[in-house]
Amino acid sequence: MRDKEMTTPDVRIDEAGTTGIRPLLEIRDLAITFKTGGGEVKAVRDAHLTIMPGETVAIVGESGSGKSTTALAAIGLLPNNGKVSGGQILLDGEDIAHASEQRMIELRGNTIGMVPQDPMSNLNPVWKIGYQVRETLRANGRPSGPDDIAKVLSQAGLPDAKRRANQYPHEFSGGMRQRALIAIGLSCQPRLLIADEPTSALDVTVQRQILDHLETMTNELGTSVLLITHDLGLAAERADKVVVMYQGRVVEAGPSLELLRNPQHPYTKRLVESAPSLASRRIQVAKEQGVETTDLLAPAAETAKSDTFLQIQDLRKVYKLRQGLGKAADFAAVDGVSFDVRRGTTTAIVGESGSGKSTVAKMVLQLEKPTDGRILFDGVDTSALKPAELFKFRRRVQPIFQDPYGSLDPMYNIYRTIEEPLRVHKIGDQASREKKVRTLLDQVALPQSAMQRYPNELSGGQRQRVAIARALALDPEVIICDEAVSALDVLVQAQVLNLLADLQANLGLTYLFITHDLAVVRQIADHVCVMEKGRLVETGSTDDVFESPQQDYTKALLNAIPGAKLMLPPEVA
């Protein structure tokens, strides 16, 4: 059953054959209100959701859509200023929307488990991993000896669990921490597991392993899973049913593939179109059919020029790692990397964290000195630049960084932020600089009124537009984007990628795009360099690399894109 309008009250999914079995979790007409400085805000309204025993249901939506809030309400963990202001949350028939704290403590862990979003901040840094597992087992009345702890951890795929249990969270990698959190979430064999973006902070290949493992474990235990994600591709691949939330409402719900192939609500349609993991497939399908490619590919084709603008030759960066007693070991963060970037094109460097891709970017920006090798910019070796020449070089090469929250000075208003590079480089007078800032705001599609505002008054996407405007202020020729869209919601990400493509077409910019996200590469890049552990393992045109990857590592990266294996009929594209 599929609802076509968001006002239709019943978006519950009833599947034939399951009638007669009571749903494990049923959310009816749920409304959640937050008390804020500006009055009461309805974060969720009229939400409906049904999870049958053993079933996986995904809630998809962008940040602020109410997906996490709905899930937190189901485990009674709403922030202090939030409360359930209407509706029911039925757990196996019992309404727990207003259950006592004592009742919730009984349910948590044993009946409802949770795997939280960010593995870096969700383990207490001052306690050993084993201790954090043990207190969970103990609180829920389960055996909690060292063997039990090791068993729980190794079931979640943590190798050498007995020794690992004696380590602290900071001695674990992100993937291992997430495994520990999964172990904690499932340690008391709950009937319902709430997984809130369980892998969004991880590399794609690690993400895949962990989701595979989670799926195996929950299948074995017969656990129902409520999966929260912003990635429609991932949701469709992992869940039986998908619920799409938008601005606090459930706008569409249904079996995953059906919903993906035939989205009804306009928002779902936009989401399907923009989902990076699906878009990669979309462009490919479009091309196979001889349909004109999207505008994302067009500008590169038009302006592709053959002259080499940036040459990276045998670049190396070695860091000294201290190993106590004055000894130091060499660690090659970048090891013999060579590639060319042609004027007016986009070259992407792809790799997981620790692959050395950001170090390459820093060296190109002259923020780090190479240990060895050369960087030729427009034919000139950048290492030989004198301070004055370096200053001019900086005008021609500008960065855009990942975190739009951290890379803008919170004390500068937008005008000052964008104007600063002009002032530093002593370009124009007050009036001409203001005119330039206005033009730049137009170029990045921000209203002129934004000039007087401060970064904290803008959304993530708007901030990244400000960062782009600032990078463009000096009319650079090369822009280095270090994970420039990774922190953005999919729809915003698509807008920013389109903006970058437009700017490239209009201004003839050259991009060096550093990212871990292959789906984004597919949309924006002409050439791809795949890096692994400091080495360049594969390079080629985007089409070649995506259609016939040569290296196992590249194949693994491509396979790990969520939703990549979903077969979508052409009409979706």
Binding site: I75, L77, P79, E101, I105, E106, L107, R108, G109, N110, G113, M114, P116, Q117, D118, S121, N122, L123, N124, P125, V126, W127, K128, E135, T136, A139, N140, Y168, H170, L181, I184, G185, C188, R322, G324
Partner: protein
């Protein structure tokens, strides 16, 4: 860890030489003749002055005086002060008193400051929080000597709960009232620090995860909020211990406590170089050890901090 401790203890040597040299020089440079001051209005015979000057090496240049002081120090012979009393003996009298006072004051700050801070932080904006915040502001704003006299008058004289002055025989009970006065100001800071730290950590992701695991509220507070919140508080308390050991001139003065503060004050009045520098030397050691303890406590509270690298 052992290497770290050793390295820290080795650092004592330059710190020690530097501070004593500086203090010694400042005393040396003080205007006025300490020998003349000894005799007050009377004019002693020149021969007596000369004898005393050479006895205390006051006729020697600065470097010789300092060198002699160091030599005495390393042979554990601190010499006599200008009244002829051995300095070592008077230090042995005053330091235990101040140490008792400091430990009592520190205990009051730590126990009540942390406990009140946790309750205030957990219910931020509640009546307890608001009351305690205003009260702590009053304590911070009122100068110690006012608090001291008021407490002395109210609890010592009017109510008679404690002896209004300590006198020669200081013990834990008689020192309690001055310890409360001494501890109050820092108690207010500890409270506010704990409160801020607790209310910040309360919203940490790992605290939510701990709740989601099914832990009871007291367990979440003790194991997950309190321990993480103590880190900044411990730093403050450690730095404070050094300060308290330096003696509280005002508080010791009001309650007539025969402690380091009193002794130091009198020595400064008399320009008694050897006594001042001897006290400072002990204080340097106390500071270094207190800071070392803070660092070790730090590593124990937060395993991410490791000193061996």
């Amino acid at each position: 860890m052992i290497r770290f401790i050793l390295r820290r203890l080795l650092q004592v040597i330059p710190v020690f030489l530097g501070t004593t040299l500086l203090v010694y020089y400042m005393v040396f440079a003080l205007p006025g003749d300490p020998i003349a001051a000894l005799f007050g209005d009377r004019q002693p015979p020149q021969a007596v002055i000369d004898t005393l000057r050479s006895q205390y090496h006051l006729d020697q240049p600065f470097w010789v005086q300092y060198g002699l002081f160091l030599k005495n120090l390393f042979t554990f012979n601190l010499g006599n002060d200008f009244t002829g009393q051995p300095i070592a003996a008077s230090l042995a009298r005053v330091f235990p008193v101040t140490a008792m006072l400091a430990v009592e004051a520190l205990a009051i700050q730590a126990i009540f400051g942390v406990a009140f801070g946790v309750f205030a932080g957990l219910r931020r904006g509640g009546w307890f929080d608001s009351t305690v915040l205003v009260a702590s502001l009053v304590v911070i704003a009122v100068p110690t000597f006012v608090l001291g006299f008021v407490f002395q008058l109210v609890f010592g004289v009017k109510l008679g709960w404690a002896k209004p002055t300590v006198g020669a025989n200081a013990d834990w009970v008689t020192l309690l009232l001055p310890a409360v006065v001494l501890g109050l100001v820092s108690f207010a800071y500890v409270l506010r620090l704990t409160r801020a730290s607790v209310s910040e950590n309360m919203n940490a992701d790992y605290v939510r995860t701990a709740t989601a695991k099914g832990l009871s509220r007291p367990r979440v507070v003790l194991a997950h909020i309190l321990r993480n919140s103590l880190i900044p508080v411990v730093t403050y308390l450690g730095a404070n211990l050094g300060g308290l050991m330096g003696g509280a001139i005002v508080t010791e003065g009001i309650f007539n406590v025969p402690g380091v503060g009193n002794k130091l004050y009198q020595a400064v009045l008399r320009s008694e170089g050897p006594t001042i520098v001897s006290i400072v030397s002990v204080l340097v050691l106390v500071f270094v050890v207190a800071n070392l303890l803070v660092d070790l406590l730090y590593a124990w509270l937060d395993p991410r901090i490791r000193y061996d690298q």
